[in-house]
Symmetry: C2
Subunit: 375 residues, 2 copies
């Protein structure tokens, strides 16, 4: 046997990936994964300067894209400059870089419970011990006793859809700053807001703390571009840049120029408005179908943004067994357990994506789930 | 101070990156980096199926691209199937994945001396101890006492340009297999062959061993596409796939379709022939300029392929001091020392890239280096 790392033993196949694969079959109705609706994608257009984008480029990313992102974040309330922006090959890469920055074997990482399962997977691979945050987000950290990093999704959280209030953002950011905890805010859904809510980045409440904020173009432009970005406090940025360089030198330059083209195009606001109202309508239709088919035993809140409904199930339902039956009937969803770092905290639950399936397909799929729940 | 990983202390800025940055200034003549000549790049053309490439895709890569790569490798003498091919976001990513697969703190890794410095950087970050291979490539490993992995570049090595003979390939592959060492063969330059030489992948001599082979489209199509590939023995492939998924979900799909378009286009062979003869001509002109300007104190062999000349300098020359002077006169090169894992093995040396600068600029730059060497 060749020698492999200790770490590999903790790397489990992500359910997301298995779901993505199964969801590519033609007749499947998938509520799993977080696939955006293809009719919302930008058309790929090669920018006029695409020839220049074929050489090796800077690890930081294209200067114009960094400037545009910094300007948008300033407008969103985060004080940052273009030289704090690092272009990523999708925001999954940001999780890998942040883990490399902070996690040695045994390092303590604070996470929401439940939270994004592919982040748990990466943190676990690097050897993290997890500290699950309370729903109240209250912590009792000190400078002598604190996790290295807190990974949170304050805006339309994955999987719960929760959006933190301004008070929650401020007090959590201050708790991190006071205890010297790196605040890592993952914000891929911020543009998908269906109701007015607080979306100012939590890290913006920090004064001198260490923070990382990341966003994605996968949900608002197209996932196939594989582009996201990270912004970090000045103490962390140089380290993250080196880690980015060691990971893949730099991100795809044609994609970066396509994103620049989109961010500066006349119809940008119109596109976003169209996207948001299309998803709001889907969310509401999904909600109505669930009320019709799933009955009273299942509980959920209509999320103010993002791509998911989070459902809690009666105690006697086993979501994994339910999934096995659902797959036989060509319906997919993601059971709740893998979203918990500490599985003993898991309640019977499931995450349903409402953005990908058509309205009719979603209704059919939910009817099938309703049948299975009653059986 | 926030808590950062132990590992970060070993992550030094790569000289490559500093060079890439300096080389973007307009008046600089750069022999540093490994920038291909822009006039060899493919024109970016969106394939007809580009709309379909905007959704999330499989972590393995596009099925058609995997098939095309497997077929090319079979023709090159490596017995492998499409389901052993993993598409990468450039071959730097393959180094990160292989390191995650094999390196815990203190893990022993065998490398050529000198070798690709950005591989050393990544392996060092994950905690490798290095074992420098002898130029004869002879080893005395046993199943009880061996490195976890051997990282080698048998074809037009970076930085030396060396190309292993068939005997060297066979005996090294067998030594790895006999001692259960993972053979990681990095092969980004194989298409840039200016003389007939053995290029059959070394891993193809293994029968039941564990191996990883990787290649790149950066040198033959365009670096800005950020696409490479990895092929691995069946025992390693599932682990590498999980690591790829955790790193960035999957590689850019538009780029993958552009590469499919190129690999299947009518003029593919003509493009490669053009590229090879253009680079051969540049290599020969560079060689002639060096003979004219650098004099007898400097030694080199004309490389049979690849992008670099490797020069050994007289003992009294300090390449770092030479570089500092050269930069003042707008000439860049890469000093030899960072290519050595064990700097005590380093001889005064420098690596000169001949593919990027124009023939005239190269001649001017080499005249400046000659002046500095004599001063």
């Amino acid at each position: 046997m060749p020698l492999l790392t200790q770490r590999l033993r903790d790397l489990r196949p992500s359910p997301v990936r298995a779901m993505l694969e199964a969801s590519q079959k033609p007749d499947v109705i998938s509520f799993a994964g977080g696939l955006p609706a293809p009719d919302t994608f930008v058309s790929p257009v090669l920018p006029p300067n695409s020839e220049a984008a074929l050489q090796y480029g800077p690890s930081e990313g294209e200067p114009e894209l960094r400037r545009l992102i910094a300007a948008e974040l300033q407008a969103a309330g985060l004080d940052c400059a273009a030289d704090q922006v690092l272009i990523l090959s999708g925001s999954q890469q940001g999780i890998d870089l942040a883990a490399k920055l902070t996690i040695d074997a045994g390092t303590r990482i604070a996470i929401e419970s439940p939270t994004y399962l592919a982040a748990l997977q990466v943190f676990r691979f690097f050897g993290a011990r997890f500290e699950s945050l309370d729903p109240s987000l209250s912590v009792s950290w000190t400078r002598a006793d604190h996790p290295a990093m807190a990974y949170v999704i304050p805006t339309f959280q994955n999987p719960t859809g929760r959006c933190w209030t301004a008070d929650e953002r401020e007090s959590f950011a201050c708790a991190c700053e006071d205890a010297d905890v790196i605040l890592f805010e993952d914000d891929p859904y911020r543009d998908l807001a269906y109701e007015p809510c607080q979306r100012r980045p939590a890290v913006s409440w920090m004064k001198n703390g260490s923070w990382i904020y990341q966003g994605s173009f996968s949900k608002t432009l197209a996932p196939g571009l594989r582009l996201g970005f990270m912004v970090a406090s000045r103490d962390l940025f140089p380290h993250l840049l080196l880690l980015k360089q060691a990971a893949d030198l730099h991100s795809n330059r044609l994609s970066q120029h396509m994103v620049i083209h989109q961010l500066t195009s006349q119809d940008r606001d119109a596109r976003r408005d169209f996207l948001v109202s299309a998803y709001r309508e889907k969310r509401d239709a999904f909600d109505a179908s669930m009320r019709q088919h799933l009955g009273n035993a299942v509980e959920w809140k209509r999320p103010p943004g993002g791509l998911f409904f989070w459902l809690t199930l009666p105690e006697h339902i086993d979501p994994d067994a339910l999934l096995a039956e659902a797959i036989k009937r060509n319906v997919l969803f993601t059971p709740g357990r893998p979203f918990y770092a500490d599985e003993s905290l898991a309640v019977p639950s499931m995450r349903l994506n409402f953005s990908h399936a058509s309205k009719d397909a979603a209704d059919r799929g939910l009817a099938i789930l309703g049948d299975l729940l009653r059986a």
